[in-house]
C-alpha cells in the first residue's frame, strides 16, 4: 500500500454519495424538462401500476395508495369549485364504501384546509388538542391503518405522551443549545426513582405523609401526593443535571457527549446494584421499587369539583360519557396531555426568551456568542437544567403510571431512542419533535409488532412466509432511521428553518480538499 505515490488515485473510488446526489439532481432536471402531459401521464400510470401490484399484497394498502394519490392531485386541481367537488366526492366514497371513520378524518382535514392561512396558527394546534383529548372516546371506532394495523390503545397513548415530554426536554438540550446529550436516560431514571422513593414503602423506617390518597395513613415510608411529587422529581433532576453539567459543560461537544454517555451508563448500574450501598437499600436492586402510590386529588378536592377531578386515578370513575366507560387509563391519559401542554408551553416560551436566544447563539457559534457577552457556562447549565427538569417530570409520571420503577428500563438504548425522536422530527422544531416522538414511541409500543405481523402474513414467496421478529430489531431500525435522516435530511422531517440552513450550508468554510477532489474529477 505504502508504495503508491499519494495523490495519483483521485477519482478512482467509485461513486461517492455526493456523486449519487449529483445524479439525482441531473435526473430531476431531466424529468422537469419533459412536457406536462408526459409527466402527468407517467405519474398516473406509475401510481396505478403500483396500486394494482399492491392489490395482490393487501387490498387496504392499494386503497391507501389510490387515496394518497387522489389527495396529491386534488391539491393541483386549480379552480376552487373543482376542488370542493373532488373533496366532497372523496368523503362521500368513504362514507358509502370504506371505513366511515376515515371519512370523518378526511372531512376534518378538508375543513382545516379551508381555514385562512393566518388563522391556522391557532386553529391547527387547537384542533389537534381537541382531537387528542377526545381520543379515548373514538379510539375503538377508528379504521385499521394498512401495514400499521389498529390505532394505538389509550395505554400506549400515555406512554407516547411521556416520550413526547422527554423528547421536548431533550430538544432543549440538543435542539436549542446544540449540546449532544447521550445520557438523557439518567434524568429519566432520576425522575422515576425520585417518584418511587417519595411515593412508596421504600424507606419503611420513616413514616411521613403529604396528602397521599388511597392508602392507609399509617403506612410506613414516605408518601407525597402526585402533583408536588412531579414538581419535586423535576427539581431534583434539574439539580442533578446542574451537578453533572458544572464540571462537564466546559468540554467540547463530542467529549460532552461521551461524559453524558458515561453518566447514562453509571446511573443504571447504581440502580441495579443499589440494594446494598454500604448496607443501605437505596433502589431495591434489580427487583425495582413497586408498587407506587396511586395519583389523585383526594376526596376533598374531588367533592369540591363535583367529581370532575378524580379522588384516586386507579380506583376511578366507571362513569359512562358519550357511550364510553371512562377507565383509569383515560384519566392518566388526560393528565399526561395536560403535562405535555405545560411542557410545550414552557419550551415555546423558553425558545423565544433571552435565554433561548442565547442557546441558539451558542449552538451556532460558541466563540462568537462568548464574544457577544453571553455567559457560556451559565447558559449551558440552564439548558441542561431545563432539559433535565422535563425529563425528570416525564420519568416520574411514567413511574407513577406503571406504579413501578425497574433498573432495566434505563438502558443506553432509551437515550438513543429519545435522540432518534428529536432527530427524526427535526432538531429545534417543536412540531417536528412532538410528531417524531409520538410516532417512534408508537412504533416501539405497538407499531413494530403490528408491522411485523403484517409483513409475516402478507408478504410471501409462494407459500413461504418470512418469520421475522421485527420488534427484536427495534434498535437497529432506530439506527437506520438516524443514519438515513442524518445523511439525506439532517434537519429532520419537519425542520426548523434556521437549523436547516445551519446544517446545509454548514457553519464552517468549505474544506479545501473537497474542492480538490471535485476539481480532479471535472
Amino acid at each position: 500500500m505504502s508504495e503508491h505515490p499519494e495523490g495519483t488515485h483521485v477519482g478512482t473510488q467509485g461513486e461517492s454519495p455526493a456523486e449519487i446526489i449529483g445524479l439525482r439532481n441531473r435526473l430531476r432536471a431531466q424529468w422537469r424538462a419533459q412536457s406536462m402531459e408526459t409527466r402527468i401521464g407517467a405519474s398516473l400510470g406509475a401510481t396505478i401500476a403500483l396500486a394494482i401490484l399492491l392489490f395482490f399484497v393487501d387490498h387496504a394498502l392499494c386503497v391507501a395508495v389510490l387515496t394518497i394519490s387522489a389527495l396529491y392531485w386534488m391539491r393541483r386541481l386549480p379552480p376552487l369549485p373543482w376542488r370542493i367537488a373532488a373533496q366532497a366526492v372523496l368523503v362521500a366514497l368513504f362514507l358509502i364504501f370504506g371505513p366511515r371513520s376515515f371519512a370523518a378524518v378526511l372531512a376534518i382535514g378538508f375543513a382545516l384546509f379551508w381555514v385562512p392561512e393566518r388563522r391556522r396558527t391557532w386553529v391547527m394546534p387547537l384542533t389537534a388538542l381537541v382531537l387528542a383529548a377526545l381520543y379515548p372516546f373514538y379510539q375503538d371506532k377508528m379504521f385499521t391503518i394498512p401495514v400499521f394495523g389498529v390505532w394505538p390503545d389509550v395505554f400506549t397513548a400515555v406512554i407516547m405522551l411521556v416520550f413526547v415530554m422527554m423528547a421536548v426536554g431533550l430538544n432543549i438540550v440538543v435542539g436549542y443549545a446544540g449540546l449532544l446529550d447521550l445520557g438523557y436516560v439518567a434524568f429519566y431514571a432520576t425522575g422515576a426513582y425520585t417518584a418511587a422513593w417519595f411515593a412508596s414503602e421504600q424507606f419503611a423506617h420513616t413514616t411521613w405523609h403529604l396528602g397521599a390518597v388511597g392508602i392507609d395513613p399509617k403506612l410506613p415510608g414516605i408518601h407525597i401526593t402526585v402533583w408536588p411529587l412531579l414538581l419535586l422529581a423535576g427539581i431534583i433532576t434539574a439539580v442533578f443535571g446542574i451537578l453533572i453539567g458544572l464540571p462537564t459543560l466546559r468540554l467540547r461537544g463530542d467529549y460532552l457527549a461521551i461524559v453524558t454517555l458515561g453518566f447514562g451508563e453509571i446511573l443504571p448500574q447504581v440502580a441495579r446494584n443499589g440494594d446494598s450501598l454500604g448496607g443501605f437499600n437505596l433502589t431495591n436492586g434489580p427487583n425495582g421499587i413497586t408498587p407506587l402510590d396511586s395519583p389523585g386529588f383526594g376526596h376533598g378536592i374531588s367533592k369540591a369539583t363535583g367529581g370532575f377531578l378524580p379522588a384516586n386515578f386507579t380506583a376511578c370513575c366507571n362513569a359512562k360519557v358519550l357511550g364510553h366507560v371512562i377507565q383509569s387509563t383515560d384519566v392518566y391519559f388526560w393528565f399526561a396531555i395536560l403535562l405535555v401542554i405545560i411542557t410545550i408551553f414552557c419550551s415555546l416560551r423558553l425558545q423565544y426568551s433571552r435565554l433561548g436566544r442565547a442557546w441558539i447563539a451558542i449552538r451556532e457559534d460558541e466563540t462568537a456568542a462568548a464574544a457577544m457577552g453571553i455567559p457560556l457556562m451559565r447558559t449551558k447549565t440552564w439548558a441542561y437544567a431545563s432539559g433535565a427538569f422535563f425529563g425528570g417530570v416525564a420519568g416520574a409520571y411514567y413511574a407513577v403510571f406503571k406504579s413501578a420503577t425497574f433498573p432495566g428500563d434505563f438502558f443506553f438504548n432509551i437515550s438513543v431512542f429519545i435522540l432518534c425522536m428529536v432527530i427524526l422530527g427535526g432538531m429545534g422544531n417543536l412540531t417536528g419533535v412532538v410528531a417524531g416522538a409520538a410516532f417512534l414511541a408508537y412504533l416501539d409500543q405497538e407499531g413494530l409488532a403490528n408491522t411485523g405481523a403484517w409483513i409475516n402474513t402478507n408478504i410471501h414467496i409462494g407459500s413461504h412466509h418470512p418469520n421475522i421478529d421485527v420488534p427484536l430489531y427495534a434498535s437497529g431500525i432506530y439506527g437506520l432511521i438516524i443514519l438515513i435522516v442524518m445523511l439525506f435530511r439532517p434537519e429532520g422531517l419537519i425542520p426548523s428553518r434556521r437549523r436547516a440552513a445551519e446544517l446545509h450550508e454548514g457553519v464552517h468554510d468549505e474544506p479545501l480538499y473537497e474542492a480538490q477532489h471535485a476539481g480532479a474529477e471535472a
Binding site: E6, S16, E265, I266, G476, G479, I482, P511, Q516
Partner: protein
Amino acid sequence: MTADASAPALGTRFRRPSFVGAIGMLFVVLVVVLLIKELTVSPSQFFQTTLIGVTNGAVYALIALGYTLVYGILELINFAHGDVFMLAGMFAITFSTHFFGLHHGQGFAIVPIVFATLLLTMAACGAINATIEFVAYRPLRGAPRLAPLITAIGVSFIIEDIGLAWKGPTYVNAPDVFPHSNVFSVGGVDYQWNHLIVVLITIPVLLALLYLVQRTRQGKAMRATAQDKDAAAIMGINVNRTISFTFLIAGALAGAAGTLYALWATTVRFDQGFQLGLIAFTAAVLGGIGNLPGAVLGAVTIGLIQAWNEGLPWHMPGSDWTESIVFSILILILIFRPEGLLGERTPEGG
C-alpha cells in the same frame, strides 16, 4: 488533540501544580496505597490478577488503537468500532469452525488455522470499516461536528442488529483451542498459555502498526492528514483515500482483537461490542486520544484496573461495579486531564 498521531509525546513540559492536579494526584496516591495493601494481603492473588489484567489490556489495546487512529485523523468518536469488533468475533468463529474445521484437541494444527482466521477476519473487518466510513461519514465531512457522531451511533446500532440477525440473541460459542497448560507456576502464581498467546499475537500487530504509521509513506500521509487536512491536500495527499486507509487499518485491528477475544474468551454475543468498545474508548482517552503509545498504555491500565477490581480479595467493589469504575475514570480524565496521560495540552483544553 489531533496534534500528532505518531510521535510519543511525553508530557515533559513543566506545569505548575494546580488545585485540580493536586486532587488528581491524591486520587492516584490513594489507589497506589490500596494496591500495596492488597499486595501485602495476598501477593499470589495480586500477581495472578495482574497477569490476567495484562491479557485484558492487550485486547483492549487493539480496540483502543482503532478508536485513537480514527479520532486522530477525523476527530470523530467512531461508536461503530466496538460493534465491528463484535462482528469480528463472529467472523472469526464462522471462519475457523466452518471453513477450516477448527475444533478442540487438534494440537499444533491450530497454528495455521488461527493465523488464516486472523488474516481473513482482519481483511473482512477492514473492508467493513472502510465501507462504513464511505457510506456514513464521508458525506458529512463539511457538516457540524456532531452530525457524524450521531450517525456513528446509528451505524453502531445497525451493526449490532446485523450481528443479532446473523447469530441470534444467544451467546455464540467458539471452540476452546488455546492450551490451558501453565507457562510457569511460581509460588502459587500460574500463568497459562491461552493468556500468553493473546499477548504474543498482539505485540507483533502493534509493532507492525507503529512501523506503518511512523516509517511508511502511507503512514506519513496519515500523520499529515491528522495534522491539517487542507495543508495535506495542498501537498498532494489524497485526503479521502488516506482517511479510507485509516479506517481500513482500524477495522483490521478490530478484526485482530475480535479474533483473539473470541478464541480466548470463547463466547461472543451481539451486544458485547458496545460495552467493550466503550471500555476501549476509555482506554484511548486515558492514554491521550490520537496518541498510539498512549492508547496501549491506557488499555493496559484499564485492563489492570478491571482485573484488580474483579479479582483482588480485600474490599474491592467487585465485577458488579466494573463499568461504573471504568466510566468514572473516563469522566474524571475528561474533566481533570482531557489530554490524557501521554497527550499534549491543546489550546481548546480538550
